[in-house]
Symmetry: C2
Subunit: 546 residues, 2 copies
Amino acid sequence: MRTTQDLQACVDVALRRRPADLLIRGARLFDLATGELAHANLALAGDRIAAVGEGYEGRETLDARGLTAVPGFVDAHCHIESSLLTPYEWERLVLPHGVTAAVCDPHELANVAGRAAIDYFRACAAGMLLRLQVQIPSCVPALPSEEAGARLPAEAIAPYARDAALAEFMNVPGVLGGDPDALAKLAAFSGRPIDGHAPLASGDALNALCAVGIANDHETCSVPEALEKLRRGMTLLIRAGSVAKNLEALAPLLTLTLCDRLCLCTDDRDPLDVRDEGHLDAAIRAAIAQGCDPLAVYRAACLTPARAFGWRGRGLLAPGHAADVVLLEDLAECRVAHVVCRGRVVGEAAFAARPPAPDDAPFRGSVRCRPLTPADFASRRAGGRAIAIAEGTLLTRDVPAEGDGLALAALVERHGGSGRVGLAWAKGFGLKAGALASTVGHDSHNLCVVGTTPEDMAAAAEAVRAAGGGFAVAAGGVCRACLPLPIGGLMSDRPAAEVADALAALRRAAREASGTPLANPFLALAFLPLPVIPEARLTLEGFTHV
Amino acid sequence: MRTTQDLQACVDVALRRRPADLLIRGARLFDLATGELAHANLALAGDRIAAVGEGYEGRETLDARGLTAVPGFVDAHCHIESSLLTPYEWERLVLPHGVTAAVCDPHELANVAGRAAIDYFRACAAGMLLRLQVQIPSCVPALPSEEAGARLPAEAIAPYARDAALAEFMNVPGVLGGDPDALAKLAAFSGRPIDGHAPLASGDALNALCAVGIANDHETCSVPEALEKLRRGMTLLIRAGSVAKNLEALAPLLTLTLCDRLCLCTDDRDPLDVRDEGHLDAAIRAAIAQGCDPLAVYRAACLTPARAFGWRGRGLLAPGHAADVVLLEDLAECRVAHVVCRGRVVGEAAFAARPPAPDDAPFRGSVRCRPLTPADFASRRAGGRAIAIAEGTLLTRDVPAEGDGLALAALVERHGGSGRVGLAWAKGFGLKAGALASTVGHDSHNLCVVGTTPEDMAAAAEAVRAAGGGFAVAAGGVCRACLPLPIGGLMSDRPAAEVADALAALRRAAREASGTPLANPFLALAFLPLPVIPEARLTLEGFTHV
């Protein structure tokens, strides 16, 4: 809601009766409505663009000569927890990359802490600079069979339908089988956007998912899969994450004809990738380098998500739109020089002016399992099949547990204190020695471990348990490195830069101690238990074919 | 809101566990998401498409072999009152032309009857087959200086902001001058779409209008005007009305690059034009005949308005979308063979199944003025300037009152009983004799008359007064024909076909009695007092330069 004072201020700036709060002067504007490039000034009033044109005075001025202005980017689907940062710290990391709005699903913390997690994220969003749209986790736990830290049935989340939308609906069997709780959730949120999660969905099942109102999908990996979903009316969120990287395969679809059905998203992106490669800026750069029309790419990054999620006044450099502007040194390279968000130049002063961060105390002390010993990791219970992982995708294969490269994987229940342990063989980690442990373990976030000896597995698991959650590397029976994640066992309480450095150090330690060639072995480990992606998974029952 | 039963029915049809309620078999589908044309069946469940594909069973089947299916058309801005029909009768007229949704502004009846008019239209919408979105009239009266039958200040309409959007905001001087009531209305509806009305707006004024949230415009007449508005973020509603016809001029913009910012609308379209030429089907046909890409045209007709107004599940032939389907004999010609709306084949049975029409009694007896005599129409008070009209546009010119073709125009206050009469010269009606009178007189709907003698003007005016509103032709001092419009002086209580015939007879009588060459002299007369369109108008003060 805007006030008459806001409106009057915009009129006064537009009619040059008073100076703009901030004047962005001299930039070339990329008009995503018409595709034109033309020089004009942007006169901002509060958190809105009040006027676009020649001249104008400003109380403050940002000299943007030589730069190209585009609207702020929208991450159409992400889990902030995957950055290992709190929302307040996460925006420090991504805003300088031009991300001024994001649709987040606090699914990870909700699996640990239930509704308190949703309320925490909403409280964070209220104080943040960027527009954070907090969707309501639809599948906690991801499947009814899962043991997570919380259960959110329809009656627990329906009250949020008043002003929020439903996050990725992963319970595909629930829809197809007519599960009452699944349908009750979909009905409760039927007037709002319902995000999807439907890897490889096709044919009759895809029709059914679309028919119940699931509007988009971010799990699509190939052009044929994408075309079938587009034909059934879905908006596709092309993913450029740390584990799942679908942009290269789907870039051929990013045309002017299709770009109003396509968005960009990161889903899960770790802080080192953001720091070293970028965020949506990197995805934009990669798509244009692949030959996509820049107008189609920037529309997908800025305009289409605003329309798909029903946000008014966002996605164009036009009066009445959000004063969220990215100033680029180069349009095709998407090299960000400055970011303006909510009318303010992004920098330390803008971050410091936020209200205090919401309290994270309720999410500490979340690792509740008994001490673990080598006896918990006895490989004789692991069975004859293995989960084969592959870099760049969340999909896994069900393969025989034979040949080189087998490691033992374990999942330890850590919410209810039952101490149950599931064991399975895993392939693709490339471990030569040692073990890795993590309390990030999608989506129930039980404690997961992969290793070469029971002693190292126990040492790594004990290290993260003692830290109240986190990542650890063990070798020679002792912990070699640990990154504590005390908030829900998922997020650090440290600043973004510090967490990025610690993660880099941890990965180095993992490579040295275990010999893994994976760039990001902890994310690969964290997705090993994910029960909603085909075709082989680690559960508390051990190896499971999905 | 959908129920779990609705959702379950869709799933069951999609998974072929039960037959579709209606199966549309054998059509070629035009996929507005991808632009592809391919054969598939459409399996409907209730008012939704449940599945698209091969096979399926149906409790009923519509054989659509040889036909092409497109989604139902959306009239993005219309005043149903201009059809002279009640909403229930209006949909009988337009649904067979493929219009399955419309955004209407009950501005005309609201100028006569205030909030009761809004509530009447909303009650009609609840029972109609097509989706009628009733916007809330923002400017009753159109300008503060007007004498209409009602006043709707901000506090009167703000309660509707809970679930409705704001209709065309015409009070441009109010925005630019910071009128508190104008800004209060805009603030109250700031979370919702705000429709615009900004003929020739440009430069700083256009920035100001966009900055306060006005999102679209249907008054644009030329490509340069359109481009400036597109650059400022507006969605343009290209108008194919009975008086204002902007499609030919704006068709060059209907490209794949721009079509997601363009819709089609009729604004004001009379029942004879609908019967004889068509509705949006005629506009689609004309645009394609002018060389526009059919994909761009059908997107503008079906998909863009759904996205612009934030409607989910509308605009594509896809599961989960509204079961609103138009079956065409020819895609380029847009020749409609069948229409399915809300899952039902449009025809007498579907209309008859509607709930009873809401009561129109509160709007009868609305012409409240004293008997009129020739002395009320004395030309000596008409001044030295004339209002020059031109067919095909609402714009008028301020010209000297000299030369051939002058007629006297009069506006009689008819709501409060003051009996005030404003007089002005008019050019362009081409009257050789007689007079025309109308209680439709935008936007305050006072009684307007144009004629060649005071006696004929009085006779025509008395005829419509006695009828409780309507159109009349007089010549030789007597009424020659009258079409009564007893509902608010704006709408007939008769069926669509009967009103169309009566209007044709009336126009014939007008041509014969007065010699006017205009195809539609009563609409031209009705727009003579419209105070929000430049540059010369008839008001209760007489000639007025706008």
